[in-house]
């Protein structure tokens, strides 16, 4: 298990992505799964950066764990901001024509679809989001 704690800022999304990618590359993660995980990081860490501590700021922790049999990566995002379950957001209507579409709610929807498991918990003042991707 590897863990990184840092300021929850949009600028740090790239730092988190590099940190997780280094772990994924070390276990020979297929490129497609890695990029899908990168998309999930962008969605989840940007949510924390933009909303968890707004209008103030705070820190977040990202943890990477790997399982071997069957191979899987588990990424956990932890913040101590306002309690918020991103999985409770409305499911967007993805069948509307362009003129009637807005892009709200697509991020978490996308994460649910491209990850194998997504779970949220609020414990001891912490928002904990855990995603699992089979490799």
């Amino acid at each position: 298990m590897k863990e990184l704690s840092l300021d929850a800022t949009v600028d740090n999304i790239a730092v988190v992505t590099d940190f997780v990618n280094a772990e994924l590359e070390a276990i020979g993660c297929p490129m497609k799964a890695q990029m899908q995980i990168d998309v999930a990081i962008d969605e989840l860490f940007s949510n924390i950066a933009l909303y968890a501590y707004a209008p103030g700021s705070g820190s977040a922790t990202v943890r990477v764990e790997t399982e071997l049999d069957p191979p899987a990566a588990i990424i956990t995002f932890i913040d101590r901001g306002v309690p918020f379950d991103p999985l409770s957001a409305c499911t967007p209507d993805v069948s509307l024509p362009a003129c009637e579409r807005d892009a709200g709610g697509l991020g978490v929807f996308l994460v649910k679809k491209i990850m194998d498991e997504v779970a949220y918990a609020y414990r001891d003042g912490e928002n904990i989001i855990r995603i699992k991707k089979r490799l």
Partner: protein, 99 residues
Amino acid sequence: MMTITQTKTDSSLTIALDGRLDTTSAPDLEAVCKNGLDGVSELTIDMEKLDYMSSAGLRVILAMQKRMLEQGSMKVVNVNDIIMEIFEITGFADILTIE
């Protein structure tokens, strides 16, 4: 990190994206959408060198599509498997002209 290369011929504009279209880079493309599409009737977005896209990128692509519906046409070309899957999951495959 993403590089945007624009090639304009009369009213045709091709925007080639290289890198990742995500929360960090989406504002750069949004600036092109807001300020660079005047007089453009044919817009091509070339994704050959784009690795992936998150919802922040989808939001800008949707804004561009809405704008081009009013003033011409837009197509997206050279989409990789990862981005195509994201377009399909989100219904963007039905909204966009993908070649």
